[in-house]
């Protein structure tokens, strides 16, 4: 605010500036809050970015080679070669291998029966047995897939060479050649880091705003503000503003960390990301304000915020694909701002999607922001009156 002789600013602008200034000063004063808002999300992203690796590899595997032929040794070495499975021990029988599963020492057992090599050479059907710990379905599926793929290919190779030897035409064969877009290495971090950013933003902003307003109510300062002529819209907008900046700072930090540390590609126009972040923060902060108008103290605000953020994170498609959810749950995700933000963030960073591709999500976020902010203002007014 300058004291120049020019036109004085409008009253709403003066009031807005006063609220923002006050919020900023209060937030800056409390170093612990600053730490929570700015650096904790950063540290979490780094730790979690490394932790969340859905790439299943190094599955501890016990091998029970009952054949001990050149053939069996060769295949066992090759099936373990690509790193999906890791040799964790030897067993003499299927039973012994299964016992290792019980003890949690291994998650898979490969049993090569006696006379395996001899059967193969003689053209008799040979069978490899795989015993899996099915506790973690993702892991057991991947392990089963790795073993099946290896021996399946080996089987086709043998069938073809056998046909050739017999002078017969090769048996029909279908190949589905994959072409992988955006993430050909099938790495987890590029996908999961934008999702973590979305989760951390909602955790930080929603609960902090909800509790902040409740705290003012508990301490009586809100009443003092309510008797001033500040309109609720100006007050709430002013309270949100510093958190919008904090949110932006967090996103910036996470984006930088994501690219440098986790190789998240930034293929899209960053303006899309900026717009999406702004609209998303309007929603998460709006939810926070709305919750605080419905609570009488900080504890209730917190629990309310929690009750919103937990299902919202789950039903957003951040951790598990929405397509796999039951139908009724997919319907719920339609009213979840997290869903739209994570879709824009991933499409923009990984796929290079622009405004033309993501406008439906951006419109949805803008709608949520407007409706939530409107509701919060309305409830705030009703309570104050």
């Amino acid at each position: 605010m300058s004291a120049g002789a020019g036109r004085p600013p409008s009253r709403a602008r003066i009031q807005y500036a006063a609220v923002v200034r006050k919020e900023v000063l209060q937030t800056l004063r409390d170093r612990r809050v600053m730490f929570m808002l700015l650096f904790a999300p950063f540290i979490q992203t780094i730790v979690l970015g490394f932790a969340v690796d859905f790439d299943v590899d190094r599955v501890p595997t016990v091998v029970a080679d009952q054949d001990r032929s050149v053939e069996s040794r060769l295949h066992l070495r090759r099936v373990l070669a690509d790193g999906t499975l890791r040799r964790a021990g030897e067993a003499s029988s299927a039973e012994e291998g299964a016992a290792a599963l019980d003890r949690g020492e291994a998650a898979a057992v490969i049993v090569v029966p006696p006379r395996f090599g001899a059967d193969l050479d003689a053209g008799r059907p040979a069978q490899v047995q795989v015993i899996l710990d099915g506790t973690d379905p993702n892991r057991s599926n991947t392990a089963a897939g790795a073993v099946s793929r290896y021996f399946g290919e080996e089987s086709i190779r043998r069938a073809e060479s056998r046909a050739r030897a017999a002078g017969l035409p090769a048996p029909a064969r279908v190949e589905v050649v994959p072409r992988l877009y955006y993430n050909p290495g099938l790495k987890s971090p590029p996908y999961i880091v934008p999702g973590i950013a979305a989760m951390l933003l909602v955790v930080v902003t929603t609960i902090v705003t909800a509790m902040g307003l409740s705290r003012e109510r508990e301490q009586g300062t809100l009443e003092q503000v309510a008797v001033t002529p500040i309109p609720a819209t100006v007050l709430l907008a002013g309270k949100m503003t510093p958190f919008v900046f904090i949110g932006f700072f967090d996103v910036l930090l996470l984006t930088v960390a994501g690219t440098w540390i986790f190789g998240v590609p930034l293929r899209g126009n960053l303006a899309v990301m900026a717009v999406a972040t702004l609209l998303y923060l309007l929603s998460t902060l709006g939810v926070g304000l709305l919750i605080s108008t419905m609570s009488s103290n900080q504890q209730q605000s917190f629990l309310g915020g929690f009750l919103f953020t937990m299902p919202a994170m789950l039903l957003s498609g951040i951790m598990t694909p929405i397509d796999s959810m039951p139908g009724w749950m997919q319907v719920v995700t339609v009213v979840n701002p997290l869903r739209y933000f994570q879709e824009v963030a991933r499409a923009n960073m990984l796929k290079g999607a622009g405004f033309g591709d993501t406008w439906p999500q951006l419109v949805a976020l803008a709608l949520f922001g407007a409706v939530l902010f409107g509701l919060a203002t309305w409830r705030f007014n009703r309570r104050a009156a």
């Binding site: 004085p8 600013p9 009586g220 001033t228 002529p229």
Partner: protein, 317 residues
């Protein structure tokens, strides 16, 4: 509305479920007046204030504050008033000056105008040396002055003070009331609730609330005249106990209470003079008896109001 009124309440009522917190209250407050609003805890003082500052909608009745209807023009009301709540409610984690800046901004003050006014208020409240201290570190009396300063920052025509001196030491209370009188002299209307009856003496007029009803309203002197028509006597002397006993049984004697080393006596003025009381006591063994007429206090008025709800009649003993 008469142009002389600053606040005008007509049949103001507020119900919470079945409970009637404020029951059909009507009064007017003049411009530049210090208006005291008295009552026990829960009598409806705060509820009345909250309706007048448009924080609470009246269930029925009407109130005009600075000429604006609280029900239809709450924003205009809020711009015209300052409010200091019972509980200290400025930001404890901000420096003194920042609290003033914030609340000034809330009322639309800005730039050098705001800065100059903030300095004035710091000067007025004697907080210039504390301007950059964290508000939470100030002692109670300073906090009260700051809260008042913050309430008058935007030069409101009316300030509402809800129990402004609760829990503050007597010296701080006196300096606080000096501030209030200065404000009134400058033309600001002051509407103040309190349960310190000595403070109420500073008010030009007093309203007394009992159980949600406004049962008395007048200047302190007039209230004393109408509600405590007794002659109040202060008696000094030795060996007064026997005389006091006998006096108490006499017709027209309303109360005889020990008061320090002497007695506090209230008698019907048409039956007893000070001399007659003195003689009666001296006749019963009192030595060196000296009787002095004194004014009834507002405490006497308050007890009479709460006890009877009707002026001028004696409660059954």
């Amino acid at each position: 509305m008469s142009p002389g009124w600053s606040i005008e309440a007509e049949g103001l009522t507020r119900r919470f479920g079945d409970f009637v917190a404020v029951d059909d209250v009507s009064f007017q407050v003049e411009k530049g007046e210090v208006f005291g609003y008295l009552g026990a805890n829960g009598a409806g003082k705060s509820t009345t204030i909250r309706m007048l500052i448009a924080l609470l909608a009246p269930s029925s009745g009407r109130a005009l504050v600075a000429g604006h209807d609280v029900a239809t023009a709450p924003e205009a009301v809020r711009s015209a008033i300052g409010y200091m709540s019972q509980k200290f409610s400025l930001y404890l984690d901000l420096p003194v000056r920042e609290n003033l800046r914030f609340f000034g901004g809330a009322y639309g003050l800005w730039g050098t105008g705001l800065a100059r006014r903030a300095e004035e208020v710091l000067e007025l409240t004697g907080l210039r040396d504390q301007a950059d201290e964290i508000t939470g570190s100030l002692p109670g009396g300073m906090r009260q002055r700051l809260a008042l300063g913050s309430a008058v920052l935007h030069r409101p025509s009316i300030v509402f003070l809800d129990e402004p001196t609760a829990g503050v030491d007597p010296e701080a209370r006196r300096s606080f009331w000096r501030l209030i009188r200065d404000l009134a002299r400058g033309g600001t209307t002051v509407f103040v609730t309190t349960h310190y009856l000595d403070e109420a003496e500073y008010c030009r007029r007093i309203g007394l609330m009992v159980d949600g009803r406004l049962v008395a309203l007048d200047t302190p002197a007039a209230l004393k005249r109408t509600w405590v028509p007794d002659r109040v006597l202060l008696v000094r002397g030795r060996n007064l106990a026997g005389g006091a006993e006998a006096l108490r049984a006499q017709d027209g004697v309303r109360a005889v209470e020990p008061f320090g080393a002497g007695l506090h006596v209230r008698v019907a003025p048409e039956r007893w003079t000070a001399d007659q009381v003195g003689r009666a006591l001296a006749g019963r063994g009192g030595e060196g008896v000296a009787v002095e007429e004194s004014e009834p206090t507002l405490e006497d008025v308050f007890l009479a109001v709460v006890g009877r709800g009707q002026p001028g009649t004696e409660a059954a003993p």
